[in-house]
Symmetry: C2
DNA sequence: GCTTGTTAGTTACAAAATCAACTATTATCC
DNA sequence: GGATAATAGTTGATTTTGTAACTAACAAGC
């Protein structure tokens, strides 16, 4: 019985465990891009996510961003504050429901967004170049399914 | 000139951007499993990672774990402390090189590892069931490649 | 053998994330 | 229409992470 010795090898393979693989791939693939928005614009991850959502969808509320990106409202709130302080976004109260705030990028924020979007696009292409076109499309589809984004 | 109005929609699709998809899929897929080691054993993510590495490979040093899992040494150090306090692992100085510490799971730690491994395996199967066998194998391969684990 | 450089791991301090409680506003229901 | 519940967003306290500087042990060059 090999049970007594607990410093033995085991047959479970972490290298095939999907949550682990997803995490490693996610971390590896966001590192390089992170350096850009971090070093060049002093932005945090949540901040560029908010920026991207606004850049893509135009006017949004904090809540909508949180739902789409699955980010907690306190993180959003703080990211919005920082982006506002840097004058990348502006907020206006919705007069129909004075609890909500409508967020939009300022021209400066839009400019940063466009620059980062360009970098993001070429970075995405670089990642996808690891695979054939069909494989890459399949990968995106599978990831969307795992993320519950179908 | 659509440029003046910056609350317009954009053509960039975050839903196809690989770093974003990888992050969302990773987060979604680790949430359920996280609840198990968090609520049932009060463990943090780094702690179960260390536990798994020791469970799989037997005796290891902090440095080896950090290299394999790409975790920073300060995180490892703290995770090891907490696991030791909970008596899930024990350390012994390597007498040949007294800087290094050899880490192994205690019987209690091994028991927790085996329990979590079982849960991990069935959870992985559940995730993989979203796809055909061939797709799942391809997915693992692609993720390993993106993670630089080839 | 002694200075200089490396390496394994720890610790202290700053930054960020999490969780719970809070304010202000709107919706519900009697 | 007034009490109660729900919602958008904020704030403060606690926990966790990240960064840099640190200790202790070993290695290399001379």
């Amino acid at each position: 019985m090999t049970d007594a010795k607990n410093a033995e090898k085991d047959t479970f393979d972490l290298r095939n465990f999907l949550p682990f693989l997803l995490n490693q791939a996610a971390e590896e693939s966001s590192l390089e891009f992170q350096r850009v928005y971090k070093n060049r614009y002093g932005m945090l991850r949540t901040e560029w996510r908010v920026l991207f959502h606004l850049g893509i969808h135009g006017e949004m509320t904090a809540k909508e961003i949180g739902e789409r990106a699955k980010i907690h409202k306190t993180k959003i709130s703080r990211a919005v504050h920082r982006l506002e302080k840097r004058r990348y976004l502006s907020r206006t109260r919705d007069e129909r429901d004075r609890r909500v705030e409508r967020l939009t990028l300022t021209p400066a924020g839009s400019a940063v967004y466009r620059e980062l979007r360009g970098i993001a696009e070429s970075y995405d292409a670089k990642l996808a170049a690891h695979f054939t076109k069909g494989e890459a499309a399949l990968l995106r589809m599978m990831l969307r399914r795992l993320a519950g984004m179908e």
